[in-house]
Structure formats: structure tokens, C-alpha cells
């Protein structure tokens, strides 16, 4: 299984060419960049960094179904901004990208994965909030998203979240945006297995809108600008994405925070964005202020 994955990079190139020839845009970034890897970095003994660095491998949890952030490509490897962040951090530990083991996490099992030690860190559009802080620790935020609404191109009746009261709105079962749109704005939730599964009901006008973080929606709009649009450029919540790690591993958390700031300074943060989400969302974000709680 592993062996054939490495062999397949060339196939992917051939495949994407074939796609580009026969089809128009297919969206999704196929970039498989390999960020710089630090040569034998040294860390104080007994720190998580030292452990990971000397082991030479790391397990990172990410989502496999979030366009632009963490999405599994045809070659079986995840691509996206979250993935690039993971690679950058691994690089600073002296771990090359091919030594990273990617584990799929879904919204509901992220805390458990960290607690059980199934993953070393999680970079998975993981919103920092107090409830989660009681279970795990967060480095970052490395990006600040916000909840938004996506509607059909011809829809003019929904421009703000208050407009969806009593209307069908699609979102992923058990996600935070789903809870918000129901509890705060009185929408009728139509739950789906993945965000992409919401597209067909919207197209068929069985739901009025799709709601989740603006960046994910922007990815859909970019793929089909003739069908969909964002209801508004304004977001109505703040979703600071953090990097999840074991609770109270403060040394590791501070170290990751330092690295994030370094990425912002040396331009690798911007490059990571441009290679992934930046292909459809032109304005590159600034690194938000790190929350060193």
C-alpha cells in the first residue's frame, strides 16, 4: 500500500494533465510541496520536540474532506493549508514530509485522538474554544476563519444570518456551525455527512443555504462561480483555528507558537497559503495574534 503511493506521484502528474486536457477546472490544489527540513535540530532533553525529532517521524491528524485546508487527493495524500502547516512544523523538527503519518480526524474524535496519544498534533480546521481547552491545549491560532452562508447565485433574499430563520440550511451533522445556525438564528438544520454533500440539495433548491466557515465555502464558490455565491463577505462568528496538542504540554505549545511567528516572518506562512487556499482566495491572511494563554 505504502510502496505504491510513492510510485504514484508521476501517475498523478499524468492524471492531472489528462484532466486538464479533457475537463476544464477541477479545483483542489495538487501541490505536493516539500518545505525545508531542519538539519539535526537540537532540543532540551525530555521535551516533546526532542522525542519527535529523535524518532524522526510524527503523526498528524487532519481532515480529509475540507477543500483547501485538508483534503485527500487522488494519490491518497492530503493537500491543503492545514497540511502545509503540519509539514512546516515537522520540518522544524527535522522530519521530512514523507515521514509524516497523516491520520484522518473527524470533528467528534479530535479530543479523544489527542488524549489517547493516537496523534502528536492535530491541524484540522480546529476551532479554539473554552470547552475544548479543558481537554486539550492549542497552539496558534494560525488562521482566523468565520462562519458564513453560501447560497445559489440567483438568491437575493438571504444576505445576513437573520434571514435564514425558519428556512432549510445544510451543514455537517455535529459541527459547530450547524449548532450556531440553529440555536442563534433559528434555521432548520438539514444535516449532511460532508460539506460537499450539501451542494446537491442547494442546487436542487431543497435548502436555501449552506453554512460553515467562510474559507470552505469560498472553495466551493471558486469551483462553481456560476452556480453559487457567498451571501455576504461578512462572517458572523470568529473561528480561530489552532493546532491541538496534549493538554498542558506548555513547552511544546510555546515552541509551536514560536515557529508560527517565524513562518510569518520568513514568508513560508504566506507561501503555504498561496500554494493551497490562495489559489482561490486571493487575499493572503496575516498570521493572527498568537494566543499565549
Amino acid at each position: 500500500m505504502k510502496a505504491f503511493m510513492t510510485r504514484r506521484k508521476s501517475l498523478l502528474v499524468a492524471a492531472s494533465t489528462a484532466l486538464a486536457l479533457s475537463l476544464s477546472a477541477c479545483g483542489g490544489s495538487t501541490s505536493t510541496s516539500n518545505p525545508p527540513v531542519a538539519e539535526k535540530p537540537s532540543f532540551a532533553a525530555d521535551t516533546t520536540m526532542a522525542k519527535l525529532s529523535s524518532a524522526g517521524k510524527i503523526v498528524i491528524g487532519t481532515k480529509f474532506d475540507q477543500p483547501l485546508f485538508g483534503q485527500k487527493g487522488l494519490d491518497g495524500k492530503p493537500v491543503g493549508f492545514d497540511v502545509e502547516m503540519g509539514k512546516l512544523i515537522a520540518g522544524k523538527l527535522g522530519i521530512p514530509a514523507d515521514k509524516i503519518e497523516w491520520k484522518e480526524t473527524v470533528s467528534a474524535n479530535r479530543e479523544q485522538f489527542i488524549k489517547n496519544g493516537d496523534v502528536d498534533i492535530i491541524v484540522a480546521t480546529y476551532t479554539i474554544n473554552d470547552k475544548r481547552k479543558a481537554e486539550v491545549s492549542f497552539a496558534g491560532p494560525y488562521y482566523e476563519a468565520g462562519q458564513a452562508l453560501m447560497v445559489n447565485k440567483d438568491n437575493t433574499s438571504i444576505t445576513k444570518p437573520e434571514d435564514v430563520k425558519g428556512k432549510n440550511v445544510c451543514s455537517v451533522t455535529g459541527s459547530t456551525p450547524a449548532a450556531t445556525i440553529v440555536e442563534k438564528y433559528g434555521a432548520i438544520l438539514v444535516p449532511a455527512a460532508t460539506y460537499s454533500a450539501c451542494l446537491e440539495p442547494l442546487r436542487n433548491k431543497q435548502v436555501e443555504a449552506i453554512t460553515t466557515d467562510n474559507v470552505i465555502l469560498a472553495g466551493f464558490v471558486a469551483k462553481e462561480p456560476d452556480a453559487f455565491k457567498l451571501a455576504s463577505d461578512q462572517t458572523f462568528t470568529k473561528e480561530p483555528y489552532g493546532i491541538g496538542l496534549k493538554k498542558d504540554d506548555t513547552v511544546f505549545r510555546n515552541w509551536i507558537n514560536d515557529q508560527l511567528e517565524a513562518f510569518a516572518k520568513d514568508g513560508s506562512y504566506k507561501k503555504a497559503w498561496e500554494d493551497t487556499a490562495g489559489t482561490v482566495i486571493k487575499t493572503a491572511p496575516e498570521l493572527p495574534t498568537i494566543d499565549r494563554y
Partner: protein
């Protein structure tokens, strides 16, 4: 434990929707399934062929795919609906009716041949033989497996939670995400509400099975 009590309204809402989906799909499946079984033993070749093909295809299709067709492909064919419960009911009843049809058919086969022969010899038509003589007698052998099929239906309705309907399982997923610290209890709550339907049904099946055994 507190999670269950705090979120009781959600559980209840989900429970009612699960019950609703099961009851409506169950009734449709019982009717349609019996019609399919009748078609299967009818003198008209096309009906037999249709019934056989339908049952074969549906029994070999995973429920998730049936749901996908009902919820996503049907609207493309012009069958639109605002309530996704409709899609769930279509998928569940189309799926379940194939199993009901098989159960009824094997029940028909369990009735001694002499019964049909006697009925025909006194001049009954096919429809009379089936509805007056065979089906009433088939019923008693058919009821226990039929209840098992209905139990399966209740459980199968959980797939709707992944296809746009917020029923018990859907709420379970939602609550599990909102209460990352009490996932165990959230799911225990969901299990409890399912058992609230399935265990009594299973009990009825056992009792009926015993009664049937005595009556024979």
C-alpha cells in the same frame, strides 16, 4: 449522565422522528411488499419478472446507496421535495419492501399445496385463492420474520442521519460533537432510545413465534 438529562428535548425530538420514519416506511413497505409477493406468484409473466428483478436488485443494494439515490438522484429526475423525510421514507420503504416480499413469498410457500388445490377445485380465481385462502394462512408463519424486518427497519432509519434528516442518530452525532467530554453518555442515551423501540418489538416477535408454534 447529566448530558442525557440536559439534552432530553433533543433526544425526544430525534426519537419521535425515528419513530415517524419507521412507522410510515413500515406501513408503505408492508403494503408494497405484499403486492410484490402477489405479483411474484401471479399468472402474468411480466409481473413475475418485474417483482423478481426488483427484489433481486434491491436486496443486493447497500442502504447507503439507496439513500443516495432517493435524496440526490431523484430530485434531479424532477421528484423534488422540501422535506428530506420524504427521501428517507422512499429509501427505507423501497428497501424494506423487498425483504417483506421475500418473507411473504416464503410464507405462501409454507401453506400446504392442498389448500390451493381445494380452493381452485371449488372454482376460485387466482385473486380469491390468494387473498381468501393462502395469505391468511401464510400470515401466521410470516409474522415473526416480518417483525424482525420491522426491527431492522427501525435500526436502518439511522442511516437517514447522514442523509439530511435530523433523527436520533443525527442528534447523537451533534451532541457527541458538542460534548466532547461526555461522548460515552451521549451515545448511551441514543442507544437507550433505540432499544425503547426495538426491544419491545423483539419481545412481541418471540411471543408470536411461540403462539404460532402452539397453534400448529
Amino acid at each position: 449522565m447529566d448530558v442525557i438529562i440536559e439534552n432530553l428535548p433533543q433526544y425526544w425530538d430525534g426519537f419521535l422522528r425515528t419513530l415517524f420514519l419507521s412507522v410510515v416506511s413500515g406501513i408503505i413497505a408492508l403494503i408494497f411488499g405484499t403486492v410484490l409477493a402477489a405479483a411474484r406468484v401471479s399468472p402474468i409473466a411480466a409481473l413475475r419478472g418485474f417483482s423478481m428483478t426488483y427484489v433481486e436488485i434491491v436486496r443486493n443494494t447497500p442502504l447507503t446507496i439507496a439513500f443516495f439515490f432517493a435524496a440526490v438522484v431523484l430530485p434531479r429526475l424532477g421528484v423534488t421535495f422540501q422535506q428530506f423525510e420524504v427521501a428517507a421514507i422512499i429509501a427505507l420503504s423501497a428497501y424494506t419492501s423487498a425483504f417483506i416480499a421475500e418473507a411473504v413469498r416464503s410464507g405462501v410457500n409454507s401453506v400446504p399445496v392442498g389448500q390451493a388445490e381445494a380452493a381452485r377445485s371449488i372454482g376460485m380465481k387466482f385473486s380469491q385463492v390468494l387473498s381468501l385462502i393462502i395469505l391468511p394462512q401464510a400470515l401466521r408463519t410470516v409474522i415473526p420474520p416480518m417483525i424482525n424486518i420491522l426491527i431492522a427497519l427501525v435500526k436502518n432509519s439511522s442511516v437517514a442521519g447522514a442523509f439530511y434528516v435530523l433523527e436520533l442518530f443525527g442528534y447523537g452525532r451533534q451532541l457527541a460533537n458538542a460534548n466532547g467530554d461526555a461522548v460515552l453518555w451521549v451515545l448511551v442515551g441514543v442507544a437507550f432510545f433505540y432499544l425503547l423501540i426495538t426491544v419491545p418489538l423483539g419481545y412481541v416477535a418471540t411471543v408470536v413465534e411461540r403462539k404460532v408454534a402452539i397453534a400448529r
